[in-house]
């Protein structure tokens, strides 16, 4: 199972607390993880990535294993520790304001 930490507002929308655990079919990539999130929680479609372009929304970032994966290819393999569930995949809202 892959563990994903999603921001407060998305947890509220999805009706979950804490992290979510997802079974991902095939290779663990950003795309397959996001596909699994949206399949499990369809109310989150469009909130993490654009409906049409499938690009990450500008103020969200993807972190894992102390790395910023935001600019990686959506089809790049995630770290083994994420794929195994040892480390979470973090979806983080950018800090804004003053």
């Amino acid at each position: 199972m892959i563990r994903v930490v999603i921001p407060f507002h998305l947890r509220t929308l999805a009706g979950v607390t804490g992290h979510v655990e997802l079974r991902v079919e095939g290779p663990a990539t950003q795309r397959s993880v996001l596909d699994a999130i949206e399949a499990t929680y369809p109310m989150l479609r469009g909130t993490i990535r654009d409906h049409t372009t499938q690009l990450r929304r500008p103020f969200l970032r993807f972190f894992a294993c102390e790395q910023d994966l935001s600019h990686e290819s959506p089809d790049a393999m995630l770290p083994d520790a994420v794929a195994s569930g040892a480390e979470p995949f973090l979806i983080v809202g950018g800090i804004a304001g003053g």
Partner: protein, 371 residues
Amino acid sequence: MSGVRVLVGTRKGAFILTSDGKRERWDVSGPHFGGWEIYHVKGSPADQNRLYVSQSSGWFGQMIQRSADGGKTWETAGNEFKYDGIPGTHQWYDGTQHPWEFKRVWHLEPSLTDPDTVYAGVEDAALFRSTDAGKSWQELPGLRCHESGPRWAPGAGGMAVHTVLLDRMNPGRMFIAISSAGAFRTDDGGTTWRPINRGLRSDYIPDPNAEVGHCVHRIAMHPSRPNVLFMQKHWDVMRSNDAGESWHEVSGNLPTDFGFPIEVHSHEPETIYVVPIKSDSEHYPPDGKLRVYRSRTGGNEWEALCNGLPQQDCYVNVLREASAVDSLDPCGVYFGTTGGQVYASSNAGDAWAPIVRDLPAVLSVEVQTLP
């Protein structure tokens, strides 16, 4: 006894205020969707318990929420607003052409007869419709694809369809307004549109009498007289007696004719309300005094209504969606401020009182009169 439900959208959530027909004591529920910008909450005229909410965030984009029980519980509806075909371009701030990009839903207008049908006025300016209670949305592209579309330009607040008026007597007719393109009308259910801006004069555009480019802030009509329209423009309060074919100014003795909302009394079609704001450079009331102005003559002759409103050191704004009337007798009038107060008058504006205060900045106010 009849009652009233006031639907308030704010910068940080939605609130629902309810009262009986006396409108003296109010219950407040919320925040619903706390932390999200709620541009608009509106109920279906065909089913008072069906509510639609525009919920948005700079991080997570657009959500639409729907309630079937008057706001006790909510269900997430569809949030995919895809422009029809190749979106094309409109004028950008620097004069270049810029692609149409969906940003948010400013206004939700439920059908007068079908609770599952609802229109959405969006930024960048376009009109969408859902016929499945918000599950899916289809653009009515005739508006955005009007030949003047490439000349539409955003104002400081963006470029949005913020006003959608349905004509109770002519189902094919709708009026919309765009900042800053102007007012448009369809007579065929949204297939084709034409600008209805003759008579508007805006000194802040190169041709003050241009067909499009006017910053219309709000249009209001009385449902019994859909050919009579009232407009609060960026500057100027305007009136049309012919469904927008022509407009004339009715600012009369207002202390300033800049402002955002405009409302029509629910039982007196010639009684209208505005909230004058000092200027487009100073978005607060003149002299620090919050005053609603009422005209009982359809414009030109205005009286200040200040009983119960702050008359010193008040520097809030009242945004374009943030006023409404109920249909009780006497007519109730409501408006919300960027300071988080919602004021109400249960006697057509003669006296006012805050029915809630210290909310986040109020973006929209709608009222449902309950049986």
